[in-house]
């Protein structure tokens, strides 16, 4: 349903509102993310700063717009949201240690979302840094994107675009966990 559930939830849960979308829940772990990290056999690590790169990523860090719709970032920053997602999966996989000298941090370098016709597009790029005892052991750029059938009607197209855009953050965490360079750099000694 492009519109059925969207309207059900929009009307029943949040009420008919203007262009600003309701707040999103905080980052939560996913089974795929947890299993990816478990399979990576990485050492327990802590999560450092996740920040946007200057320019477009910074401009879109607090909120993103699609047509007349505006979606605020969970927790006020999409870059931080990426770090929060990673931390949630690490915690649930038993690979999070706030005292570890193994630290993963990230910079969101590219971000994009549109609801063009006939297809909407979203893209996310980030560079991940892994340090061990203060020494850099990984600098890795990853990117992911999504394309979907976009509706002409904004009431359907706008939330659809935001959903796909936010899905990229989960995908990015899974991509990192599956990345052989990350696994090698963060391996359990």
């Amino acid at each position: 349903m492009r519109l059925g559930a969207r309207l059900i939830f929009a009307l029943a849960a949040t009420g008919v509102s203007g262009c600003a979308m309701g707040p999103l829940p905080p980052a939560q772990a996913t089974l795929e993310g947890i299993q990816s990290i478990r399979a990576a056999h990485v050492a327990p690590m802590r999560v450092g700063a996740f920040t946007p790169a200057p320019g477009e990523a910074t401009q879109m860090d607090r909120s993103v717009s699609v047509r007349a719709g505006v979606q605020s970032a969970p927790g006020g920053s999409f870059a931080k949201y990426l770090g929060d997602l990673l931390e949630a999966d690490l915690k649930n996989a038993g690979r999070f240690d706030p005292t570890s000298d193994l630290v993963v941090s990230g910079i969101v370098t590219h971000t994009h979302v549109d609801s063009g016709l006939p297809n909407g597009h979203a893209a996310l790029g980030a560079t991940f840094h892994v340090t061990r005892g203060g020494a850099t052991v990984l600098d890795k750029a990853l990117s992911t994107n999504a394309t979907w059938d976009s509706d002409f009607v904004g009431a359907a197209a706008i939330p659809d675009a935001f959903n796909h855009y936010l899905g990229l953050f989960e995908q990015m965490v899974r991509d990192l966990a599956a990345d052989p360079d990350f696994r090698a750099a963060a391996h359990q000694p």
Binding site: R2, L3, G4, R6, I8, V16, T30, V153, D160
Partner: protein, 250 residues
């Protein structure tokens, strides 16, 4: 998000565009106040699942704790707002199953995880009839009725521990909204109290509890196999095609 739509049986019914057509036209003509009227319309759920019968319920001799993860998706994309809206209902359904000693959003001692994903999907051809009936409802100021079918699939994955194999069950369900003053009860649907909210909550409970019950009858559900499977099928026969076990090696 991996979701399979193979369990959905395509049906030629009204779809979401009908709702939009009606809403858009009515709102255009009568103003936004009219848009609230359809929300108060009667709510139905498809008859394909129903509640798990007491005699069909799996019984676990020694329930163990589980961590519950839930995500609502729209056409495969995570929908954070709907996830937030329905999370407590999913939690209630899992707790009510009695299959676990505790259901937590945090990690549990044995590392058991139950992952629930409900996806709002568009079955093939579901949109075909929608524009016509939706436009008719809107054009007649909500006098001519429409039944709006909204389709959902669920996938439940369970891992008993960090190294345990993943077992999966799926199901399909639907919610029906009635629009307009002159309408007939939809066939193959059950009216529920509470209008649209009631229908969504009932769908959520049933699309979780049915595959969960089937999951608990899998020998891999508990390594000690302390489940008492019923002789009856886990899911009503009419929904068997929609709630199929899936071989999902890790």
């Amino acid at each position: 998000m991996i979701m399979t739509n193979r369990a959905i049986v395509p049906r030629r019914r009204n779809g979401p565009r009908a709702l939009f057509g009606a809403l858009a036209l009515a709102a255009t003509i009568l103003g936004s106040g009219m848009a609230a009227a359809p929300v108060r319309a009667a709510g139905y759920v498809g008859a394909e699942l129903g509640d798990v019968k007491p005699e069909d319920k799996a019984v676990v001799a020694q329930p163990r704790p589980v961590q519950l993860l839930f995500q609502f998706c729209t056409k495969g994309a995570p929908n954070g707002r709907a996830t937030k809206f329905l999370k407590s209902k999913v939690l209630d359904a899992v707790k009510a199953s009695g299959l676990f000693s505790d259901v937590s959003e945090d990690t549990v001692a044995d590392g058991a995880i139950l992952n629930v994903v409900i996806d709002n999907v568009i079955p093939p051809k579901a949109m075909q009839n929608a524009e016509v009936s939706g436009a008719a409802t809107g054009a007649t100021m909500f006098i001519a009725g429409s039944n709006i079918w909204d389709h959902y699939t669920s996938q439940l994955d369970y891992v008993a521990g960090p190294d345990a194999p993943k077992i999966t069950r799926t199901a399909a369900h639907s919610v029906v909204m009635q629009m307009g003053l002159i309408n007939k009860a939809p066939a193959d649907a059950v009216k529920v109290e509470g209008g649209i909210n009631g229908a969504v909550f009932t769908m959520t409970r049933q699309i979780v509890e049915n595959p969960l019950n089937a999951l608990a009858k899998d020998t891999a559900f508990l390594p000690s196999a302390n489940v008492t499977p019923s002789a009856a099928p886990a899911i009503p026969a009419a929904a068997e095609a929609a709630a199929a076990p899936v071989a999902t090696p890790q």
